[in-house]
Structure formats: structure tokens, C-alpha cells
């Protein structure tokens, strides 16, 4: 019996060795192919040539990713699109492993992901802190002036009636205030507790689960809530004539658009192209891009193409 097993085991081992050997030999052939090396010698790090660009399942993020993709393509760098990946839990490991190599991110939110205790608030501080907080193998390129961060907004009527243009003005409002936003806002550091601690403003809270969408706007118009959390790049702020309150004490973490890249893919060519894009992407541009998607129902592809033509970088 024993002998038979050993025989079988030996047989298997042999087959395994042959198989491994064959794979190694094939792999050797592939990397030894002179044609193959010549085609990738231009882009040193990008294995197989194409740089893989990902995006969140958030329309605005996808537009930025598409801009990166088209900008690289315009400079003869091959790209592969892996859009709509979802949450950070899902895509950050993929970026670290190099499955996805380039991703539009937001400085504040990304910093909070890696360092929840961070005390950095301003745009520059956050960007500096982010460079130190990123794990091995990931880096950020230049941040764009465009921001997409939480912001508190009131109606124009409310702003005028109470003389409120900044969060610090809210303390002098005598009528009770209710804040509306997604339910997680209640427990966020910039939620009701943050307002009280930073600005001495006491607010009630009403959870509305559409991320500053039509229900939130309606509740604001109906005066069921007086203060709502909407992303600063949301075109609805302008469309509904809302006033975004200033945040002089830095309650919100600044969150600029920033390209997150796998170090292996960060060749000078790629970095150069993406940095040019970032430098040109202003806050107004981002709102406009979002508006084209939300109000004009344009595709990310078309919006990215039009913007690149407008800024004429390449």
C-alpha cells in the first residue's frame, strides 16, 4: 500500500514539475521576446504597456478619471479603464497591489481613511499630511485647485434674513436650527457636535438619505431643515440659489481632487501629463463638469473630451 501511494505521489510530483517547468519556460520566452521588450521600453514601469485607471461609483469621480484617461491617450500613453469600483475598501487594496494604478481621489477623505485622527484641516496641511500617511507603494501627484468636500448651505432668504454668510454667524441666529444630511453625518466629527464645539452652534438633526439630492433641497425649501450638507462641487448649490457658508475655523477637512497613483506607474511621462491636468482643473470647472452630467445628461466621455478641448493642454 505504502509503496503504491509513494508511486502515485511521485507521479504527481513529476507532472507538477513538468507543468511548472513549462510555465517558467513560456514566461521566459515571453520576457525574452525582443519585440516585447522594445514595445515596453518607453514606459518603464507600466507592465504590459497600459496604465489601469479606476474610478469610484460616483459620477463626478468618473468624469475626472475619464479626463485622466483621455489626457494620457492624447500623449500616446496606453490606458485601460476600470471605472465604477465603489468604496475605498474595495479599490485601495487593488491600487496597492497594482491591479489598478491611477485613481482620482480627494485629499481630505483619503487622509481620513488612512489617518482618522488627523488634525490637518487646510488644503496644504492635508496634502502634506497625506503624503506621509499613504502606505508603501502609493503616492499622490499634484493636487488640483478643484475641491469636492462637505459644505453647509442655507437658502438665500435665510442668509439675508439672518445676515448669515459664515458658520460663525450661525451662533447669533435665535430661531432653532435643524441640520439635514445623510444619517452618518450625525456621528461625523463635522456633524452637530463639531458645530457646537467649533462654532458654539446648537443644531437639531434630521436624517435625509439622498446625499444632498432633491429630497434634501425640498426639505430646505419647506423650512423643515435650515442647514444642509451638500458636496461643494454639486451643481445644485448654484441651481437652487443656495448660499454656502464659509468655514473660517476649518470645521471641514479640505478635500481637493488629487490623483492617487501606484509608485510603479508614476513615470515622469505619466506624472507630467496628470499634473498638467490637475493644475488646470479649477473648482468652477468641476461644478461645470458635474452640471453637464446632472443637468444636461452628457456622458463622462463627452464631458471629458469637451473640457480637454477647452483647456487645450495637449
Amino acid at each position: 500500500m505504502n509503496h503504491m501511494f509513494t508511486a502515485i505521489k511521485k507521479g504527481r510530483l513529476l507532472t507538477g514539475l513538468v507543468a511548472v517547468g513549462a510555465v517558467v519556460a513560456l514566461a521566459g520566452c515571453a520576457s525574452g521576446d525582443p519585440l516585447d521588450t522594445s514595445s515596453t521600453s518607453g514606459g518603464d514601469a507600466a507592465e504590459g504597456g497600459a496604465i489601469v485607471i479606476g474610478s469610484q461609483a460616483y459620477y463626478s469621480n468618473e468624469i475626472i478619471a475619464e479626463i485622466y484617461a483621455q489626457a494620457l491617450e492624447a500623449n500616446d500613453i496606453e490606458v485601460e479603464r476600470q471605472f465604477n469600483i465603489g468604496q475605498r475598501d474595495a479599490y485601495l487594496p487593488a491600487l496597492e497591489s497594482g491591479e489598478v494604478q491611477l485613481f482620482p481621489e480627494y485629499t481630505g477623505n483619503l487622509l481620513q481613511y488612512y489617518d482618522p485622527e488627523t488634525t490637518a484641516k487646510t488644503s496644504d496641511d492635508v496634502y502634506a499630511a497625506l503624503a506621509g500617511a499613504l502606505p508603501e507603494g502609493l503616492e499622490v501627484l499634484d493636487q488640483a485647485p478643484a475641491t469636492d468636500q462637505d459644505s453647509y448651505n442655507v437658502t438665500k432668504e435665510f442668509s439675508e434674513a439672518n445676515g448669515v454668510t459664515s458658520l460663525s454667524d450661525l451662533a447669533s441666529v435665535t430661531t432653532p436650527l435643524t441640520l439635514g444630511g445623510n444619517s452618518e453625518l450625525q456621528t461625523r466629527p463635522y456633524g452637530p457636535e463639531g458645530l457646537l464645539a467649533t462654532y458654539g452652534v446648537t443644531v437639531g438633526f434630521t436624517p435625509i438619505e439622498d446625499s444632498g439630492g432633491p429630497l434634501t433641497l425640498q426639505a430646505l425649501k419647506d423650512d423643515q431643515v435650515q442647514l444642509v450638507n451638500i458636496y461643494s462641487a454639486d451643481p445644485n448649490i448654484a441651481a437652487a440659489g443656495l448660499v454656502t457658508l464659509e468655514d473660517p475655523e476649518g470645521l471641514f477637512l479640505a478635500s481637493n481632487v488629487v490623483p492617487l497613483i501606484n509608485t510603479d506607474a508614476a513615470t515622469p511621462e505619466v506624472s507630467d501629463v496628470i499634473n498638467k491636468v490637475s493644475a488646470a482643473l479649477t473648482a468652477e470647472d468641476l461644478v461645470e463638469l458635474n452640471s453637464q452630467s446632472q443637468n444636461d445628461q452628457e456622458s463622462a466621455d463627452t464631458i471629458a473630451k469637451n473640457w480637454l478641448e477647452k483647456v487645450a493642454l495637449f
Binding site: T206, I208, L215, Q218, Q224
Partner: protein, 245 residues
């Protein structure tokens, strides 16, 4: 500790139980939506169903109406209504009323239709007025099916009432929406377990109620005997559940 245990631990944590945002309060809100919506729906659907069942008129409309209402997507309807009625409890309540109507309507008219025509003829023959036929024959004999309709609408609403949290309407869904955003899965599971438990308890109560409302003198045994002699299957009374046996 696995996720299921964490869910139960969330339920048992005293911090999550009491207070205005504890689960006891949220559970009562869930119940209030359920019984509020079913009560309003019953006021609308029962008389309508009885009218259809007694006269036999408008049956097609009632059938297609109850079928059509069932196909409405609840969340879509809720958001649409909330845009008009504002956030809070009103839009969810109206949504759940609309959701609760079809089963009750169907139960009401099916209950009348299930009454043996010979029983009604007999009632008329002994000199009952139309009103007496309705109140003393059709309503009692149709009651088990009506309770069946109420039972399924309660079950539907108690499960769907979780959506109220989307438009600041409270109830147990508030925990679930919050938990998803914060990736607090024990909380999501804990709240889901509560919804499930509530639905099972209500289902049990209605199953019992459905048995209790069988009118005196009409027992299941008789139904079988009648059936064996007659080709009319739904002869004396009808509990749809027993029909197949």
C-alpha cells in the same frame, strides 16, 4: 464573535435600547406605521371590496386595480410623495396605505365571493333584507378571507416600513440606513433581526386570529363534508389556506 452574534449583541446593548433613538422607540414607530397604514387602508378597501363582492359589479376594475397597485415600486413612490409632502412621517404613511390596500381589497371581495350562493338564496328565502344578507351572512362568512387579506397587508407594511428612514420618517430603517453608511454591519443586522422578529410575531397573531374568526356553526369539518357532496368547492366558508387539502 461572528456577525450574527454581533447583531444580537447590538440588540442587547442597553445603549441601543431606550431613549428617543433607541430601538424600542423605533420599533413602536414601525408598529405605528404598520397599524396606521393598515387601518386607513381598511377603511378605504373594506367597504369597496364588500360593494364589489356583494354586487359583483366592478370586479374587473377591483382586480386590475389591486394588481396594479401591487406593482408600484415602494421606494420610488415614497420619494415622489416626499417631494410633494415633504420629509417626515406623511409620505411614508401614504406610501404604506397604498401598499396595504390591494391585499385588503382582494380579501374583502374574495370573502364575499366565497360564500355559497345557496346560502345567500336561503337567507333571502327566509325573508332577510339585502342589508341583513350582507351583515349576517356575507360579512361573517367572508371574515376569514378578509383577515387573510389584512394579514398579508400587515406583513407587507411591517417589512416595508423600514423605508421610512430614507425620508427622515424614523422607524427601524433609520438604523439600517445609518449602519450602511458607517459600515456598521452589526447594527444593520441587529435592526434587520428586529424587523424580522416583529414580522413573525404579527404573522403569528394574525394566523391565530384567522382561526378564531371562523363563525360559530361553521367548522372545518363541515366544509369537507359539503365539498364531498357538491362540486361547489368553496361552499360554506373559505380559508384559502385549507383549500388545497
Amino acid at each position: 464573535m461572528n456577525l450574527i452574534e454581533q447583531g444580537f449583541a447590538w440588540i442587547l446593548d442597553p445603549e441601543n435600547i431606550s431613549g428617543p433613538s433607541g430601538w424600542v422607540a423605533r420599533l413602536l414607530e414601525q408598529l405605528a406605521y404598520t397599524f396606521g397604514a393598515v387601518a386607513i387602508a381598511a377603511v378605504i378597501a373594506v367597504p369597496l371590496g364588500y360593494l364589489v363582492g356583494h354586487t359583483g359589479k366592478g370586479r374587473d376594475i377591483a382586480v386590475s386595480l389591486s394588481g396594479g397597485f401591487r406593482a408600484l415600486p415602494s421606494l420610488g413612490l415614497l420619494i415622489l410623495l416626499a417631494l410633494g409632502l415633504g420629509i417626515g412621517f406623511r409620505a411614508p404613511l401614504v406610501t404604506f396605505v397604498i401598499l396595504a390596500i390591494p391585499p385588503i381589497l382582494a380579501g374583502a371581495y374574495a370573502g364575499f365571493e366565497a360564500v355559497d350562493r345557496r346560502t345567500i338564496d336561503a337567507a333571502r328565502a327566509i325573508g332577510m333584507t339585502e342589508w341583513q344578507v350582507v351583515t349576517r351572512v356575507e360579512v361573517p362568512l367572508g371574515l376569514p378571507l378578509l383577515i387573510g387579506g389584512l394579514r398579508s397587508s400587515v406583513l407587507q407594511v411591517v417589512a416595508t416600513a423600514t423605508l421610512a428612514g430614507y425620508v427622515a420618517g424614523g422607524a427601524l430603517g433609520a438604523f439600517i440606513f445609518e449602519a450602511f453608511a458607517l459600515r456598521d454591519y452589526p447594527q444593520a443586522l441587529g435592526a434587520s433581526i428586529l424587523v424580522t422578529a416583529l414580522a413573525l410575531v404579527l404573522e403569528g397573531i394574525f394566523a391565530l386570529l384567522q382561526k378564531l374568526v371562523v363563525p360559530r356553526g361553521v367548522v372545518v369539518k363541515e366544509q369537507r363534508e359539503v365539498r364531498s357532496r357538491s362540486s361547489r368547492t368553496r361552499a360554506v366558508m373559505g380559508t384559502p389556506i385549507r383549500e388545497g387539502k
